[in-house]
Symmetry: C2
Subunit: 129 residues, 2 copies
DNA sequence: CAGGATCCAATAAGATACTG
DNA sequence: CAGTATCTTATTGGATCCTG
């Protein structure tokens, strides 16, 4: 059977895998990070351009999301000292490498969406009896 | 450049990918889901066994996590009408297929953890000046 | 234009006690 | 054993106003 991490005993070193995965999910598991990474995968973009593209993200949350990504070294923030200021965000090498497993997950999501939606409907129908 | 979804314009049909990915992340992006899926990837397991294995999860959160997974059709819940009751949880086919992209993400996490940790340390050091 | 600061609502999560 | 119910706290997200 496929496993997230190959292990047999309950207490061997495989926990580290889940921990690392957990850390990553703490970053990308929020509401906006993957959307932002997604639009930045098309190339560098300015703050307000990202905000217009993502649709629904608030000023504040975009700031926080970009700060988090910058802190993790997934995004660079370049300030052009013009007036008015121009700030450009771009994915780093590490950030771009994240797109590979992320797009695999996106494909899974798209392929299994019908199944999941159906399962939810069936579950909910069985509940209200 | 690698992209989450192949697109060029800002408003084409590629949004559906991000939406689907977003929905999946709403499920697996919480604190416990991937841990539970991870331990169930080793085979069916009973409630208290999962709770002992995952370490740190509360009674309540494990219940909610399993309910959510069951609702999405990723986990089956089998009740053996014995006394005391025995309830076994197992991944469905769909649930097992999720492990493939999830383990890819886990590998990415493990490979890039040093880089990310270093980037965080550097960012934090630059901040406190 | 980009983003900091503040306040408020919604949600997630933890602790604890009770039940078939 | 495997839950449910209730209460409380922590975290997340959104709205708004202010600034270089």
């Amino acid at each position: 059977m496929a496993q997230i991490t190959p292990q047999n005993g309950p207490a061997d070193g495989a926990e580290t895998d889940c921990r690392a995965l957990g850390r990553v999910l703490e970053r990308i598991g929020n509401k906006w990070t993957v959307m932002v990474v997604g639009v930045l995968s098309q190339g560098p973009m300015r703050f307000n351009a990202i905000m217009r593209t993502v649709d629904g993200v608030s000023h504040r949350m975009l700031t926080l999301t970009l700060r988090g990504l910058e802190r993790d070294g997934l995004v660079t923030r370049t300030v052009y000292p013009t007036v008015p200021p121009k700030v450009e965000y771009a994915l780093t090498e590490t950030g771009q490498s994240l797109i590979v497993p992320l797009s695999a997950l996106a494909r899974w999501a798209e392929q299994n969406r019908p199944r999941i939606t159906a399962a939810q409907a069936q579950y909910d129908a069985a509940q209200e009896r």
